[in-house]
C-alpha cells in the first residue's frame, strides 16, 4: 500500500492510514538496526540530497544514516543562512541540484513553507526536515513511534506538549499527528508561548505544570530557546524553571508514572531538572535510534513510490 502523497511536507492533513503505515514500516527497519549488518539494498541507485539551510547536526546525521542504511547515495548540501542574502536564490539552488538527477530532497530551512515552495519548482520527492516554526514531521513521527513502543498505543492517550509551543515546529507536527491517531492533546506553557488561536486546533491549554503532569500519560517537553529574542517571552530563565520546569519533586508529588519525551538537546535545569534528565537517558537514546528507523521508513515509502 503506497502513501497518499509523494512528499512529506508536514503531518497536517496526513491520513491515519499513512501515519500507521510509516510507523509500522519503521518497526521493520528498527529490527534491521539491531542486526550486525545494518544495511538493506532498498534504495540502491537512488540519490538523496540533504539540503540544510540551518545548522542541525542531529537531524542531518539521522537522515544521512537512514539514507546510507537504505543504500541510497546521499549528498549533503549545507548553506549557511548568512550567505543566502548575497548568494543565489533557493529556486536557483534547487534547479541546480535537480540538474544532478536527484530523486529526493530532504530540506531544513528557517522559513516556513520552504518545502511547499520546493514542490512547485522541482520534481523530486520533498521531505521536510523542519521549516521555520511550522512543521517537523519526522520528529513528530519518531515521538509517536517512541510513545507507541513504550505504551503500546496512541489512541486514547493523553499527551501534553510543554514549553514554547508558539515557536516550535515540533509542537505543531505532534498536535496534528497525535490527534489524527486518536490521542487527546493539550499544551502547557507560559501564556506568551501559546499561540493565540491554538484552541481552534482542538487542543486544551493548561497553564499549570502540576495539572499537566496530573492529567496526562505523556509529556513531550520542548527545548526552550535561550537567545535574547526568545527571552522576550518570559521574565527570566529562573522563573521559567521554577514554574514550568519538570523536576523530580513535581513528579513524585503527582504520584504517577508518566512518560517524558524531549527532542533534545536538553537545557538541564531549565525545562527539565538534572535529576529527571539523568533518568531519561535511556529513552532519549532510544529516540535517537527510533529516529533513524522512522526516517528510513519515510525515505523507503516515498522512494519506492514511483
Amino acid at each position: 500500500m503506497p502513501l497518499l502523497s509523494r512528499h512529506l511536507l508536514g503531518l497536517y492533513g496526513v491520513p491515519k492510514e499513512d501515519i500507521q503505515l510509516i510507523l509500522d514500516t519503521a518497526i521493520t527497519f528498527r529490527e534491521v538496526l539491531d542486526r550486525p549488518i545494518k544495511k538493506v539494498p532498498t534504495l540502491q541507485g537512488k540519490t538523496v540530497v540533504n539540503l540544510f539551510y540551518e545548522n542541525s547536526t542531529r537531524t542531518r546525521i539521522s537522515f544521512e544514516l537512514a539514507e546510507k542504511r537504505l543504500s541510497a547515495d546521499s549528498i549533503n548540501f549545507s548553506v549557511s543562512t548568512s550567505s543566502v542574502s548575497k548568494g543565489e536564490t533557493l529556486k536557483d539552488t534547487i534547479r541546480n541540484i535537480e540538474a544532478m538527477k536527484v530523486d529526493m530532497v530532504v530540506v531544513r530551512h528557517s522559513a516556513a513553507g520552504t518545502p511547499q515552495f520546493l514542490t512547485k519548482v522541482c520534481s523530486a520527492n520533498i521531505i521536510n526536515a523542519g521549516d521555520g516554526i511550522h512543521e517537523h514531521p519526522t520528529q513528530a513521527l519518531l515521538d509517536m513511534y517512541s510513545i507507541r513502543e513504550k505504551l503500546g498505543k496512541l489512541e486514547g492517550l493523553k499527551v501534553c506538549i510543554v514549553g514554547d509551543v508558539a515557536h516550535s515546529r515540533v509542537a505543531l507536527s505532534n498536535i496534528y499527528g497525535l490527534k489524527t491517531m486518536g490521542a487527546k492533546v493539550s499544551v502547557c506553557g507560559p501564556s506568551t508561548m501559546i499561540p493565540k488561536y491554538i484552541e481552534d486546533l482542538g487542543v486544551d491549554v493548561i497553564y499549570n505544570i502540576d495539572e499537566a503532569i496530573q492529567e496526562n500519560d505523556v509529556l513531550n517537553v520542548l527545548r526552550i530557546q535561550l537567545e535574547r529574542k526568545a527571552r522576550e517571552y518570559f521574565p527570566s530563565v529562573r522563573e521559567y524553571a521554577n514554574y514550568f520546569g519538570i523536576t523530580n519533586e513535581r513528579l513524585e508529588k503527582s504520584g504517577k508514572d508518566i512518560l517524558i519525551l524531549h527532542p533534545g538537546p536538553i537545557n538541564r535545569g531549565v525545562e527539565i531538572s538534572s535529576d529527571v534528565a539523568d533518568g531519561m537517558n535511556q529513552i532519549i537514546l532510544r529516540q535517537v535510534t527510533n529516529g533513524v528507523a522512522v526516517r528510513m521508513a519515510v525515505l523507503y515509502l516515498l522512494g519506492t513510490l514511483n
Binding site: 497536517y12 536564490t89 533557493l90 529556486k91 530551512h109 522559513a111 516556513a112 513553507g113 520552504t114 511547499q116 515552495f117 519548482v121 521549516d131 521555520g132 516554526i133 511550522h134 512543521e135 515546529r169 505543531l172 499561540p195 493565540k196 488561536y197 491554538i198 481552534d200 486546533l201
Partner: protein, 430 residues
C-alpha cells in the same frame, strides 16, 4: 479631430446627471455637444457606438507605487500610467517610497515631467519626513509649491507622535492631508495576519492591533491639531469602527480600502503564495465584512489599489523573505464591479463616488464635469462584460497579482483625458 460617442449612458453624481442613450460630440479635445446629434453634425473622424456602456467621471487611484526613480525594472512612470489607463483610470497619486524618495522639489518635477504628455494625470505624494526616516520634516512648503497632492511616509506610519503632530500642524497652512500607513513599529515585522492560519502555516504573525493602535493615535492627533489624516489601506474591523466614530465627531478623517482587503481573506496564503503577501496583510472573514459595511455606510470614502510592483525574482522566494505588495491597477475596476456593484453592495453612483469623486476631493483636486466647453475626463465602463484576468496581458511591467485567472464581471473599456483616448489597447489623439 472630431469624435462622436453615441448611444452612451452618461452618469455624473456631482452634477446629478443621469442620461440614457445619448450622444456626445468631442471636437479638438473639448466637449461640444451632449444629447442628440443632427445628421449634419454626424460626419466625424471617428464614431464609437457605446450602446449599453456607461460614461462616468474618470477613475482616480490615490495609492499607487511607481518604481521610478529607482526600480525601473519593476515599473516606470510611463508603464504605470499605461497600466492605469488599461485599468480605467485617468489619474493616479504616486507614493514617495522611491529611490531617492519623493522628498524634494527636484524629484516631484522629475516625475511630473516624465508624465506630462500622458493621458493619465500623475499627482506625486511627498514624504512627510526626509528620506521617510521619521526624524526631520521634509521641505513641505517647497513640495506644496512643486505641486504634490498629499504627504505620506507610506511603507511605515509617521514614526513618532511628536513628528506627526508637527507635520499635521504645518500642513494646516496648505489644507493637505497626511496619508497614513497605520502600523505600530514594535508589533510590525511579521509575514501574515495573526489568526488560526498563521498558527497553521507557522508564519510570524502581524496582529490586527498593530494597525488599530496607529489608527487610534492618528485620530486623536487629528482631533488635537485639527489636521487632516487619510487612513491608507484600512484592513481591520476595529479600525473601521474607530473611523466611523471619528466621522460622527466630524473630525478630518478619511479612509480608503484596497480591492484585496474587501475580496480576499488570509485563507489565500494557505499555499504560501507570495502574491498574496502584502502589508497590511489579508485579514479574516470578519474584517472583510467590516470593509463591506464601511463601504456601504460611507465610513470608507474611497477605493485605492496600493499597486505595488515587484519583480518575479523578488517574489519567487521563501514566503518570509518575499517583499510585501501586489499590483492592482488593472484588476481594481473589475473587482469593484464584481464584488460590490453586482453583489448589490454599492450602486453605480456609489462606485463612481469611491473611484472617481472622493479620492479627488480628499486631495483637493477638481472633479471632472460633463459640460459643454469642458475637457473630457471619462472612463468608459462595460458593466456586464465577463472576462478572465490574465497577468500576461497587463500593461504593468510586473506580474505579482493573486487574481490571475479570476473571472470578473465588468471592466473599463476605455478612458479619455488630456486630449487623448485609450480604447481597444490603443492611444488616439483627440
Amino acid at each position: 479631430m472630431k469624435l462622436i460617442l453615441k448611444n452612451a449612458n452618461l452618469i455624473n453624481p456631482v452634477q446629478n446627471l443621469d442620461l440614457k442613450g445619448v450622444a456626445l460630440l468631442i471636437e479638438d479635445g473639448i466637449i461640444k455637444k451632449i444629447g442628440d446629434i443632427s445628421v449634419k453634425e454626424s460626419n466625424s473622424d471617428r464614431t464609437l457606438d457605446l450602446s449599453g456602456k456607461y460614461i462616468v467621471p474618470g477613475f482616480f487611484d490615490m495609492h499607487v507605487h511607481l518604481r521610478e526613480p529607482g526600480r525601473e525594472d519593476e515599473e516606470t512612470i510611463i508603464s504605470g500610467c499605461d497600466s492605469a489607463a488599461n485599468g480605467g483610470f485617468t489619474g493616479i497619486a504616486c507614493m514617495p517610497n522611491t529611490e531617492p524618495a519623493i522628498d524634494s522639489a527636484e524629484v516631484v518635477q522629475f516625475i511630473k515631467k516624465k508624465a506630462a504628455s500622458h493621458l493619465v494625470d500623475v499627482h506625486p505624494i511627498a514624504a512627510v519626513t526626509v528620506e521617510r526616516k521619521g526624524e526631520v520634516l521634509s521641505p513641505m512648503a517647497e513640495l506644496v509649491e512643486a505641486g504634490v497632492a498629499a504627504f505620506s511616509d507610506d511603507g511605515t506610519a509617521v514614526k513618532s507622535a511628536s513628528i506627526l503632530r508637527k507635520a499635521l500642524e504645518y500642513l494646516k497652512m496648505y489644507n493637505l492631508p497626511i496619508i497614513e500607513h497605520c502600523e505600530d513599529e514594535s508589533l510590525a515585522g511579521g509575514a501574515m495576519n495573526e489568526s488560526i492560519n498563521s498558527t497553521l502555516l507557522g508564519l510570524p504573525p502581524i496582529p490586527s492591533v498593530a494597525e488599530d493602535l496607529i489608527v487610534m493615535r492618528d485620530i486623536l492627533m487629528a482631533e488635537y491639531t485639527g489636521g487632516k489624516v487619510h487612513i491608507a489601506h484600512i484592513s481591520t474591523k476595529q479600525a473601521v469602527e474607530m473611523v466611523r466614530e471619528a466621522k460622527k465627531k466630524k473630525l478630518n478623517i478619511t479612509a480608503e480600502v484596497t480591492p484585496h482587503h474587501f475580496s480576499l481573506t488570509d485563507d489565500a496564503i494557505k499555499t504560501y503564495d507570495t502574491n498574496s503577501k502584502m502589508n497590511p496583510p489579508l485579514r479574516t472573514k470578519d474584517d472583510v465584512e467590516a470593509m463591506i459595511d464601511g463601504l456601504k455606510d460611507g465610513t470608507i470614502d474611497c477605493i485605492a489599489s496600493d499597486h505595488a510592483p515587484h519583480s518575479p525574482e523578488e517574489k519567487e522566494v521563501e514566503f518570509e523573505y518575499a517583499p510585501n505588495g501586489i499590483i492592482g491597477l488593472e484588476t481594481q475596476t473589475g473587482l469593484v464591479l464584481s464584488e460590490l456593484y453586482h453583489k448589490k453592495i454599492l450602486s453605480l453612483e456609489q462606485v463612481i463616488e469611491k473611484l472617481a469623486i472622493n479620492p479627488r476631493k480628499i486631495l483637493n483636486l477638481s472633479v471632472p464635469l460633463f459640460e459643454i466647453g469642458e475637457k473630457p475626463n471619462f472612463s468608459i465602463i462595460d458593466l456586464d462584460e465577463i472576462w478572465t484576468v490574465d497577468i500576461n496581458k497587463f500593461k504593468s511591467k510586473s506580474r505579482n497579482s493573486p487574481f490571475h485567472n479570476r473571472l470578473l464581471t465588468g471592466r473599463a473599456i476605455g478612458v479619455i483625458n488630456n486630449g487623448k483616448m485609450f480604447y481597444n489597447g490603443e492611444y488616439l489623439n483627440l
